[in-house]
């Protein structure tokens, strides 16, 4: 589905991505893990066109999308739940959800999905009319995830969705990821909670300072000593 070839990104003088290549096959869960500053968020931002790559290509279903406007990429069904949540603080919780479904025209379906989100996150229903900016950190995170789901993406990219969430909710987020994947949505997941991510991922990549240093099926990486030492905090 998504194919990245030799992708390179510069921020001024910083070479944040130094030619990475990987693939996200349709219907799978793929995860990117790596230390702070490795370039995970940068990768996701390049895919949706928020960051302009300095080299390489990104293609979706065989069609090149690098260079397109964000809006056109999103309209093709690639949706990002960004790092730092980026909810609309002055709008209400409900309006944020509606914006998630901005490109959809089926009013009935949108209303149904809104209900579904409230069922998944009862907290959000309690805060329906509250300005999103005054939600607690975790509530905002839930909103960001729910908002992304509202667009019924083909490829859902999530940047650290579990950040700042209570253990119960973290578990729930991973369950939701599995569930929507089972419904057919392809997932690209960036996580610090590497263990949980690798457990549900079909495939994983390890990013280190702008390069992919390791890759393999999730379970395999989970068993790798280097990964366990560096990212899972297990002393061996």
């Amino acid at each position: 589905m998504l194919r990245i070839d030799d992708l390179s990104v510069h921020y001024g003088g910083i070479h944040a991505l130094q030619g990475i290549s990987f693939e996200v096959p349709e219907g799978k869960i793929v995860t990117l893990i790596g230390a702070n500053g490795a370039g995970k968020s940068t990768t996701l931002k390049s895919v949706v066109g928020l960051v302009k790559p300095s080299g390489g290509s990104i293609s979706l279903d065989g069609e090149r999308v690098s260079g397109l406007a964000t809006r056109d990429i999103v309209r093709r069904g690639v949706v990002l739940a960004p790092e730092g949540r980026r909810i609309f603080p002055d709008l209400s919780t409900e309006e944020n959800l509606e914006l998630g479904a901005f490109m959809r025209d089926d009013k009935v379906g949108v209303a149904a999905d809104k209900k579904r989100m409230y069922a998944l996150f009862p907290r959000l229903e309690e805060r329906r009319k509250q300005k999103a900016g005054t939600l607690s950190g975790g509530e905002q995170q839930m909103l960001a995830v729910a908002r992304a789901l509202m667009s019924r993406p083909k490829l859902l990219m999530m940047d650290e969705p579990s950040l700042g969430l209570a253990p119960l909710i973290v578990k729930m987020i991973f369950d939701i990821v599995k569930a929507i994947n089972a419904e057919g949505t392809t997932i690209l997941l960036v996580e610090q909670n590497a263990k949980a991510a690798l457990e549900i991922a079909d495939f994983g990549y390890v990013l280190e300072t702008g390069r992919i240093t390791m890759s393999g099926p999730g379970r395999e990486l989970l068993a790798d000593d280097g990964v366990r030492r560096a990212y899972l905090g297990e002393s061996l």
Partner: protein
């Protein structure tokens, strides 16, 4: 004060206030979406008046055709201005955008001086607007009866657009976070362009109505109304559309009533506008109807 004088002053106040309100709406609209004090708003206002003037005189169009043409032109001009002066600065510090706005304002005024000439022109009289009506002891120019109606219509229309339509939702999303709005598949450029178009259209309309009431045009005519109406918008809570109307009326009423009740202080009339502004801001830092922005840390 005699009762008839009082009623006359009240009429004066409401008619000035509704004109302020009309222009303030456009200001607030652009600010609300772009968080940009559009210093060129007053100049677009001026252009609206000139476009109508030339359409009605040089091109000899019937006045209502001239008005429609002029309003359309200002809308297009506003979108063009946004494209040239503001779009390239979309991700720049706010102050650069502000300087660009000031620069654009200077430029429009100076080009106006070169093209239209520095001397005032006078708008041909349109009987529908330029008739004195006597309502009991009170005299009023007919245009002053149209303005509140137009203001009310625009208020309703804008409230509907901003709060009741998808485009409005997009506008509000764009106002806080461009990248996040892009991620929602919103066409940011189009949304902003549209906002500017509407804002400029309102400025143009305001300019035309203004010259109906005060029938002279000069390249700097937008400066004072621009400033006053900006104040009105801030008093009401900038970004808040009903607030702009409220602010416009308050300012109009205050300006007139100061003169009515304290004639010795007429020289300070402009200062009172600012005193009102400052008092309101000190009591309610985001204007009368402005929502207090909660800072959550």
């Amino acid at each position: 004060m005699e009762l008839s004088t009082f009623f006359q002053q009240l009429t004066n106040a409401l008619s000035l206030g509704s004109l302020y309100a009309l222009i303030a709406i456009g200001y607030t609209m652009v600010y609300g979406i772009l968080r940009l004090i559009n210093f060129a708003h007053g100049d677009v206002f001026m252009l609206g008046a000139y476009f109508a003037f030339y359409a009605a005189t040089s091109l000899a169009m019937p006045w209502w055709v001239a008005f429609i043409v002029a309003i359309g032109l200002t809308a297009i001009f506003g979108m063009g201005l946004e494209r040239v002066a503001y779009r390239p600065l979309r991700d720049s510090p706010k102050i650069s955008v502000m300087i660009s706005a000031i620069g654009a304002s200077f430029l429009i005024e100076n080009v106006g001086i070169v093209v239209f000439g520095g001397r005032p022109k006078s708008f041909p009289s349109i009987p529908l607007f330029d008739t004195v009506l006597h309502l009991g002891p009170v005299s009023v120019l007919s245009v002053s009866l149209f303005i509140p109606v137009i203001t009310a219509a625009i208020l309703v229309a804008l409230l509907w657009i901003v709060n009741g339509t998808k485009t409005g939702l997009a506008m509000r999303a764009v106002s806080t976070d461009l990248d996040a709005a892009r991620l929602m598949a919103i066409d940011v450029n189009r949304t902003i362009s549209l906002t500017f178009g509407i804002g400029s259209l309102l400025a143009g309309l305001g300019g035309i109505m203004w010259t109906m009431k005060y029938p002279q045009l000069n390249p700097l005519m937008g400066v004072m109304p621009g400033l006053k109406c900006f104040i009105a918008a801030v008093i009401g809570g900038i970004g808040n559309i009903p607030g702009a109307v409220l602010g416009g009326f308050l300012l109009g009423v205050l300006e007139i009533m100061i003169v009515a009740f304290l004639p010795e202080l007429t020289g300070y009339r402009d200062a009172f506008a600012f005193v009102l502004l400052i008092v309101v801001l000190l009591v309610k830092p985001s204007g009368l109807l402005g929502k207090h922005q909660a800072v959550k840390v």
